[in-house]
């Protein structure tokens, strides 16, 4: 894995703190499980194991996971929140790199869709542009270790917008 270009991976001084959500939810009913899964996906958590997810600690990530813990309890499950740090810098970098790679894959999909819409032309482009901008915003909200693909995706989406201006 190539880490160059990840701002986090350059001149890393202090160890990060992480917030973990440890949870157990009954298999049935499935509705709370699906709702939880959706929320966790939206937050961009890293799944460390079954029933254990991680996010880099800040006031917002901790709060969001605390509310999810409460929802798990309300749905008849068990949940707890832990603030922790990796045992070694290497271990932490592996986790950060995996999260960056997950975001990078999402950015690559946005970029590919923008390029495809640009070369296809046609009336659907405006709707595609709106969707891609929304997707970018959502990905950025859960992108804790921005990879180089972030800027590339943004450039591709803005190029699509400019191409539409030019042909309007």
């Amino acid at each position: 894995m190539c880490n160059r270009g990840f701002s986090y991976f350059e001149g890393m001084a202090a160890r990060l703190k992480w917030v973990f959500l440890l949870y157990r939810l009954p298999r049935n009913p499935s509705t709370p499980r699906i709702a939880l899964w959706r929320s966790l996906r939206r937050l961009g958590v890293f799944q460390l194991a079954d029933g254990l997810v991680a996010l880099p600690l800040d006031a917002r990530t901790k709060e969001q996971l605390e509310w999810l813990a409460e929802e798990v309890s309300e749905a008849g499950g068990e949940a707890s929140i832990w603030v922790t740090e990796a045992g070694s810098a290497v271990q932490e970098r592996v986790l950060a790199a995996r999260m960056a790679e997950a975001a990078a894959a999402e950015y690559r999909a946005v970029r590919a869709a923008a390029l495809a819409a640009g070369s296809a032309g046609g009336a659907g482009r405006r709707r595609t542009l709106r969707r891609l901008r929304r997707d970018l915003r959502a990905i950025r909200a859960r992108d804790y270790f921005p990879p180089p693909e972030a800027a590339e995706a943004r450039r591709a989406v803005e190029a699509l917008a400019e191409a539409m201006e030019a042909t309007a």
Partner: protein, 143 residues
């Protein structure tokens, strides 16, 4: 009455404080704490883990308070739609206003303390409420 919530007020707590002063307790006094265990005995906690007035069944605290106090003003529920998406961003509602409100509240909390954020955001919510009230009356976006 005394009301307690978490320090570092953001959109849901600012909206709750506005709603409490507006519709429940005009003389509300707010206390900001770091941990649920610090809530004073004589205070009602809101938007804090373990509180009745918190997130429940997918609702944010603002919606929970509306339900708990039987506040059925449709303009308040329209504000709730925006607060919900600004806080949770789960696409339960269509709320194009939400990302803007989220940024405004985040920015306010960077340059003001909690009591000031509550005061300033109160004016913001007054305006938001009036805008949504007129939109509902007119059946279109007000000028």
């Amino acid at each position: 009455m005394k009301w307690a919530t978490r320090r570092g007020v953001h959109v849901d707590r600012a909206a709750c404080a506005w709603l409490i002063r507006r519709s429940i307790d005009p003389k509300a006094e707010f206390v900001f704490v770091d941990d649920p265990s610090e809530v004073p005995a004589d205070a009602t906690a809101f938007d804090i883990r373990g509180a009745e007035l918190g997130h429940h069944h997918g609702d944010c605290s603002f919606e929970t308070i509306l339900r708990r106090y039987d506040l059925d003003d449709p303009a308040l529920w329209d504000v709730a739609r925006i607060v919900h998406e600004a806080d949770l961003d789960d696409e339960r509602y269509d709320a194009p206003e939400a990302p803007g409100l989220d940024v405004i509240c985040r920015g306010l909390s960077m340059v003001h303390d909690d009591a000031e954020v509550v005061a300033i955001a109160g004016a913001v919510f007054d305006g938001l409420y009036e805008h949504r009230r007129r939109a509902l009356l007119l059946g279109r976006e007000p000028a």
